[in-house]
């Protein structure tokens, strides 16, 4: 179930004054089962890129292979491709149209030729997997909250049993809790269904937590394609592209520069916490209440220069513990 792009270029309005090179000579390989993040600011080409994956856009030049077959070959069944490579767009409002949730989710499977009964089986399975409650199946999709609409939209594509699921900005417009819920649900899907997930986002914080591979788009080209940790270590270059590494990356680098020997690869709050605790322990920091043993039972206010120096002594290794 691999997708391969070979020297793909896409130009909007070629030959006119409005010519824009949205993608420039992109080659990449997407194997089975990965959880991939695609990041880039508006206009970086990331939306154009994902629409090439399911043949919604035909490249100006270059080839796109799905399982080794050219998807733009003359006899190629692109409708079938689109059901195998599911794409969920940013705004659920752009796809919801039926009177009730269940019928709406059935739309995709029925387009694949399933009967209503068969489609309902798939639809129910999909709705359940995105955490949508059964009592709301008969509700109108238009009276749902933003987070629920998003779930229905994802289920609408999931019900077609895609092998690859692409989500464009699934968290846009959601509040923090709604955002975390949806992302957890997507990660769960990846685990349960074992399908490839491609998550497009602006938010480094969101992506750092979930993906195993991160593709950074800039100016129509691939700027980085590696593990999140490796990508975030280029945080200064990311900044030059108008992107920012997760706040944690900045904190860790800043701590390191100020002498606390932490692991600058940490990208999530949990990792950062561990690393800082380790560093503090190895430095016998007075800040750690746990290690405030007999000799330092003093109050918080009692801090000496000696202790402070010790806290942030450069060069101390975590392995010294």
């Amino acid at each position: 179930m691999s997708i391969e792009l070979k020297n793909v270029t896409y130009t909007y309005s070629p030959g006119t004054a409005y010519e824009i090179h949205a993608l420039k000579d992109i080659s990449m390989y997407i194997p089975d089962g990965q959880f991939i993040g695609v990041i880039g600011h508006t206009g970086s080409g990331k939306s154009t890129l994902i629409q090439h994956f399911n043949a919604l856009i035909q490249p100006t030049s270059g080839t796109i292979l799905y399982n080794g077959e050219d998807v733009w070959a003359e006899k190629y069944d692109r409708r079938k491709l689109r059901s195998e490579v599911g794409l969920v767009f940013q705004y659920p409002e752009h796809q919801l149209f039926e009177n009730d949730v269940l019928s709406d989710v059935c739309f995709g499977p029925m387009n694949q030729g399933l009967t209503r009964e068969e489609a309902e089986v798939e639809a129910k399975k999909a709705l359940q997997q995105v955490g949508f409650k059964e009592k709301n199946y008969s509700k109108s999709p238009f009276e749902l909250s933003g987070g629920q609409k998003k779930r229905v939209a994802i289920a609408g594509v999931l019900a077609m049993n895609p092998k690859i699921l692409i989500l464009d900005e699934p968290t846009a417009g959601l509040d923090p809790k709604g955002r975390d819920d949806i992302l957890d649900q997507i990660a769960e899907l990846h685990k349960v269904r074992g399908i490839t997930i491609i998550l497009v986002s602006h938010s480094m914080e969101d992506i750092a937590k979930y993906v195993e591979r991160l593709i950074v788009m800039n100016n129509g080209g691939v700027a980085f394609d590696s593990t999140p940790k490796e990508v975030f270590s280029h945080y200064k270059e990311l900044e030059a592209m108008g992107l920012a590494a997760p706040q944690i990356t900045y904190i860790m680098h800043s701590l390191k520069e100020n002498g606390l020997d932490v692991d600058t690869d940490a990208t999530t709050v949990a990792e950062a916490k561990e690393s800082i605790l380790d560093a503090l322990k190895s430095g016998h920091s007075y800040l750690l209440r746990e290690v405030q043993t007999a000799e330092s039972t003093g109050s918080v206010g009692k801090r000496t220069d000696r202790e402070e120096n010790e806290t942030c002594k450069p060069g101390e290794r975590r392995s010294d513990r």
């Binding site: 600011h41 933003g146 002498g259 806290t311």
Partner: protein, 281 residues
């Protein structure tokens, strides 16, 4: 008395059945008391559906209270016969940049408010020039709004409000549909207006990073104001915020987690610098 003051403000959304009778009422805002001083930067936080947008629309007299009172610059919104006088004092910027720009050219859109107010032509031009300058959009004045980025569109919308010379600007989730760069642009413009022009700013959002510079933060949940205080006071209550479906900036969360693990640093750390200096003194 402050520029915006609410006393026991309540609002019900009414749902009608097919015959036009009230079928059910839904409480959107409940017993809210506010007193916002002129020149303040106030943030109202809340998850989707917490009632924050409904509250915001009262400040512009787009909605009138079901009970209680709201005063804008000493005018009672439910008693003022000419609502546009209130709207001129408290301008409003909405979430979707596409759905609030009326003009087909940037400068004509900025002039729309003053035109409605009956300002003489020469003055309109002065106001338009001035407002575009303040949000840094002068270079785009002859452009079509459709060709601008989201952040630029929102700055045009802000300029359109500034040109009405309001005493206060209410921004209802102005950054919800923008990318991180657009968000920064808009926030910078808003903060500058607040600092340089002393315009009262009421920012409604669910992005926590945007409120750390506010003078005061209100948190809403289920139509009630459930927390209020300085950003530091609010953000030191990480668990309470989580209960209201909100989160805190990563740095605050990290500091909070470290505290729970026994590291002796203060609560309510808001910036990277603060955390670094707390850990590496």
């Amino acid at each position: 008395m402050g520029i915006i003051k609410a006393f026991k403000l309540g609002f019900d959304y009414l749902k009608y059945d097919d015959d036009g009778n009230v079928q059910e009422t839904q409480r959107a805002v409940n017993d809210v008391n506010l007193d916002i001083e002129a020149g303040e930067f106030v943030a109202i936080l809340g998850h989707n559906g917490s009632g924050k947008s409904t509250l915001a629309k009262h400040m512009n007299a787009l909605l009138l209270p079901s009970e209680g009172t709201l005063w804008v610059d000493d005018m009672d919104t439910s008693k003022e016969p000419e609502l546009w006088k209130i709207r001129q004092k408290a301008g409003m910027v909405f979430q979707n940049p596409d759905n609030q720009i009326i003009g087909t050219v940037v400068e004509e859109d900025v002039g729309f408010g003053p035109e409605n107010m009956g300002i003489p032509t020469d003055d309109i031009w002065k106001r338009v020039d001035d407002s575009l300058e303040k949000v840094g959009m002068t270079a785009y004045r002859h452009h079509s709004p459709n060709k601008l980025s989201g952040g630029q569109k929102q700055r045009v919308a802000i300029a359109g409000v500034v040109a009405m010379h309001p005493r206060c600007i209410v921004l209802d989730e102005p950054t919800a549909m923008l990318d991180p760069n657009g968000r920064k642009e808009v926030l910078k413009a808003v903060r500058e207006l607040n600092q340089a022009e002393n315009v009262t700013v009421i920012l409604i959002t669910h992005y926590m990073e945007e409120v750390i510079h506010a003078d005061k933060v209100y948190v809403m949940d289920g139509g009630d104001v459930v927390m209020q205080g300085t950003p530091r006071e609010i953000f030191s209550q990480v668990d309470t915020l989580k209960k209201y479906r909100l989160d805190v900036p990563q740095v605050t969360l990290l500091a909070h987690e470290l505290r729970l693990s026994g590291v002796d640093i203060p609560e309510g750390i808001l910036t990277t610098e603060e955390l670094v200096s707390a850990l590496c003194r």
